[in-house]
């Protein structure tokens, strides 16, 4: 066995996106020693890519807004299966968490009165998203980073966690390696916060980077924690579709928030045909009304392009199947006819730049071609609403890796605020938990040996599979068998294929040495991807209805039974076990907000 570098902290935070940074800041503020680990350089997590904004009812743009309306919108957007305790906490604390960022240096776009400006987004009744042009995530992560580096926590960057360490029934650290040197590192900790983000890389077309491999979901699952709502994956309606090399890259919903409209190949504004009954009362039913809304008429209802993401993504898909798609199989997103060039460049500078550079297209004069892309996972590690603790002692989770808040469909802008609200809570409660523990348990030699052996297996020269090809096949399988629209047969087939892929995964072979070797990193990520792929498929097969981000061709309607239950996945003697459990009913004071 190698000798390992060992680092000890009261709280170990895994992940340095918005959630991890916010957790590390809060835990440090409680006076405990904190370590923060991330796979990339600091400041490069997904959070940096977020564009449109963060939702909070500051009511700067419309005085009618408050936390209660935000609560209503979030539950309706989540199709009523959200964990309402989480939603209540979230909506009540969102505004404070956002304005606190100003003290740490964030500069949001301003209203005429000099306050934080707010923009419209899908599913939010009033303009609610604090934003900085279309680079809000950059502002968020840089603000937390530049404030955080003075709070005393230690950062381990380009360091990857392979497994959590658990002794007795308690999480007490993590085993990982430095990407640069390939050397192993053992973290001892009294508590661990997972803030590892999402799992978009399980699909072929995605807005996520190489980091989104569901590590936290899989680490938690293997440590015995429960996963909730794993069938709910968000396909964002507007990803780039052309040229092929940029397929999946996100086009912010801010384009529609600023007035962008969707058209099919007949030039028809098709979203008017897809307004669900539940949203008819607050959605424009004519182009005339929609254009009054754009001009700021408070009596006009919101245009149908701002319906929730699940609705818009499915509409684009239906248009394409009906033969009315754009030349490369998407829809046209047109802001050029709605706003003048100066306005577009000011409000959506990075979209302008992105299309100019990558698509050879000027969005101030020409419509964009867009189509659905895997963007976000609503499902995740089950946590206690107040404390963000998982079902395993000493293990906390916050941000995209945690489940429950967003229900069946996340509203745009609710993620960034989620990172702040529950990041702070996870930081606070993990610190509190650590203070109550005398000493972190020591990991046993045997366990470490096992982890080392597992991590080095891919270098075995007897092995034959190329990690890049196994990953590509996995992504294709998920795209086909558990994608936007699902059927029983396809998913059963998918589960079989996943079994083959698992076998191939055990044979991946890595060349070269351990120093900064991406093939090795992919080989290790593969195990996590396979785990989350199975969880998504199993949960999607289980939910025999359509709701939010989960659409079953064989069960196109929503069912009352499934409205009242959430699905929970856990490990039972080495295999994945799923069960449906009823939610606690919503108390009256919240029920009446709907």
């Amino acid at each position: 066995m190698e000798s390992y570098e060992v680092k000890e902290h009261d709280v170990l935070v895994i992940g340095a996106g918005g959630a991890g940074l916010r957790a590390a800041i809060e835990a440090s503020a409680q006076g405990v020693s904190v370590g923060l680990v991330c796979k990339s350089l600091l400041g490069k997590a997904h959070t940096v890519m977020a564009e449109g904004g963060m939702a909070a009812s500051l009511s700067n743009a419309d005085p009618r807004d408050n936390w209660e309306v935000h609560f209503r919108d979030t539950i309706r957007g989540g199709k009523h299966i959200n964990n309402w305790q989480m939603v209540e906490i979230f909506c009540q604390e969102a505004a404070d968490r956002v304005s606190e960022l100003e003290e740490w240096g964030a500069l949001f776009d301003r209203t005429k009165e000099g306050l934080i400006a707010q923009r419209n987004f899908g599913g939010h009744r009033y303009p609610r998203l604090a934003h900085v042009g279309d680079r809000t995530g950059l502002e968020l992560i840089r603000t937390l980073q530049n404030y955080g580096i003075h709070q005393g926590f230690e950062v381990y960057m380009e360091c990857c966690v392979v497994e959590l360490i658990k002794e007795k029934d308690q999480v007490c650290g993590a085993f990982g390696f430095w990407r640069e040197s390939g050397q192993f590192i053992v973290f001892k900790a009294k508590s661990v916060v997972l803030a590892t983000g999402g799992l978009g890389k399980v699909y072929r077309v995605t807005s996520n980077s190489w980091e989104g491999t569901g590590d936290g979901h899989a680490l938690a699952y293997r440590a015995g924690a429960e996963l909730v709502d794993m069938e709910f994956v968000q396909f964002h309606p507007t990803g780039m579709v052309w040229p092929p090399s940029v397929q999946g890259i996100l086009v912010t919903e801010g384009v529609r928030g600023e007035g962008g409209i969707l058209k099919n190949s007949d030039g028809k504004r098709f979203m008017f045909e897809y307004i669900p009954d539940a949203f008819a009362a607050e959605t424009s039913d004519s182009e005339e009304e929609a254009s009054r809304w754009l001009k700021g008429d408070p009596e006009a209802r919101r245009p149908p392009e701002l319906l929730t993401r699940d609705v818009v993504a499915k509409a684009i898909r239906s248009e394409r199947i009906a033969g009315r798609g754009s030349p490369h199989g998407g829809a046209f997103l047109d802001i050029a006819s709605q706003r003048d060039a100066e306005y577009i460049k000011k409000k959506l500078p990075s979209m302008y730049h992105q299309f100019m550079k990558l698509g050879n297209l000027d969005i101030t004069s020409t419509p964009m071609e867009v189509g659905p892309t895997c963007h976000y996972v609503m499902g995740g590690v089950r946590v206690e609403p107040e404390t963000a603790m998982t079902t395993v002692k000493g293990l906390f989770a916050a941000g995209e890796v945690a489940g429950g808040l967003h229900g069946a469909n996340r509203l745009g802008g609710n993620s960034l605020t989620d990172l702040l609200v529950f990041g702070a809570r996870a930081g606070f409660h993990s610190a509190k938990y650590s203070k109550e523990i005398a000493e972190a348990l020591n990991p046993s030699e045997d366990l470490l040996k096992k982890m080392e052996r597992f991590s080095l297996e891919p270098f075995d020269p007897e092995r034959t599979e190329n990690p890049y090809s196994v990953m590509a096949d996995l992504q294709e399988t998920m795209e086909i068998n558990a994608g936007i629209v699902r059927t029983k047969d396809e998913m059963e087939k998918g589960l079989e294929l996943l079994q083959d892929l698992k076998n191939r995964g055990e044979k991946v072979r890595v060349e070269g040495n351990r120093q900064y070797n991406p093939a090795w990193h992919y080989a290790l990520d593969l195990k996590n991807l396979l785990c989350v792929a199975e969880a998504i498929t199993l949960a999607a097969l289980n939910r025999e209805e359509s709701r939010g981000g989960h659409t079953r061709e064989d069960f196109p309607e929503s069912s009352e039974y499934f409205q009242n239950v959430n699905s929970f996945i856990s490990d039972k003697e080495g295999s994945m076990f799923i069960e449906n459990r009823e939610r606690e009913p919503m108390p009256e004071h919240l029920e009446k907000l709907l």
Binding site: L42, V48, M49, V132
Partner: protein
């Protein structure tokens, strides 16, 4: 389908050589796609950093045909494919492996910058700032920390100067010094700790910035003027402090 040749630097700790690889070129392809194709088909262990693929995270900096660029924002159809495309790591930083360099020094410099120290909130609990007063700083906040400007700055490349923060961090300090809420005076440390005086305004940094931030004109030059005003012209300094909010950007730089 067209084919191109790529020459990619491979090796560890600055020791290495150029290896040639074929690349199958498809429409709209960028250099990062080509490098990833090489990685998945011919050199699985090729070390390279990337995240967003859309010019938003600043991870994929390298030298393409000798020019410092973001690989994900460099389209293949901008390059001549008659000769091999040359891909090398950034030269201004210690080499680690293949296309990956050690950029940790940047993080150390950043730590030395004192954080924003804001004035108290208004009585209604808000902060009021006008859009036009923050526009200039919002420009600096666009920085994606690709470190291409640090890579090309000759003052940094000349290793004898130890205390020079470099363009990226000078504009970060500028963003604090011009921040309507900040209460610190940062001019002395700009001169003594961050070596503002070493910059001789060659503007190489501005030229490579993928975010088109006018690092020199809008950041460094106004800072130099303030420092000069403060330390070499006591009367002017006094005047400025007595008459107005010294955070305001000098009129002529607007």
């Amino acid at each position: 389908m067209a084919e191109a040749q790529f020459k990619v630097f491979r090796g560890e700790g600055a020791k290495g050589e150029l290896f040639e690889f074929p690349v199958e070129v498809t429409e709209g392809m960028v250099v990062l796609d080509a490098v990833q194709q090489i990685q998945s088909r011919h050199a699985n262990d090729l070390a390279v950093r990337w995240n967003c693929r859309a010019g938003k995270c600043g991870s994929c900096s390298a030298e393409v045909n000798g020019k410092p660029r973001l690989m994900c924002m460099t389209r293949m159809d901008e390059l001549s494919l008659d000769v091999p495309v040359l891909i090398e790591p950034m030269r201004g930083f210690p080499h680690m492996k293949d296309l990956v360099t050690d950029v940790s020094r940047n993080y150390e410099i950043n730590k030395k910058i004192r954080p924003l120290t804001p004035k108290p909130r208004e009585t209604d609990g808000t902060y009021r700032m006008q859009q036009e007063d923050i526009e200039r700083i919002q420009e600096f906040h666009k920085c994606i920390e690709c470190f291409l400007c640090q890579n090309v700055c000759h003052v940094i490349r000349d290793h004898s100067v130890k205390e020079f923060a470099g363009p990226r961090f000078l504009i970060r300090i500028a963003s604090l010094a011009m921040h309507p809420l900040d209460t610190l005076n940062r001019l002395k440390e700009l001169k003594d700790v961050f070596g503002l005086g070493y910059c001789n305004i060659t503007k190489c940094c501005t030229e490579v910035c993928p975010e088109n931030i006018k690092i020199t004109d809008n950041g460094i030059i106004p800072l130099k003027e303030r420092v000069a005003g403060a330390f070499y012209d006591p009367l002017a300094w006094l005047w400025k402090n007595l008459t107005s909010n010294s955070k305001k950007i000098p009129e002529k730089n607007k």
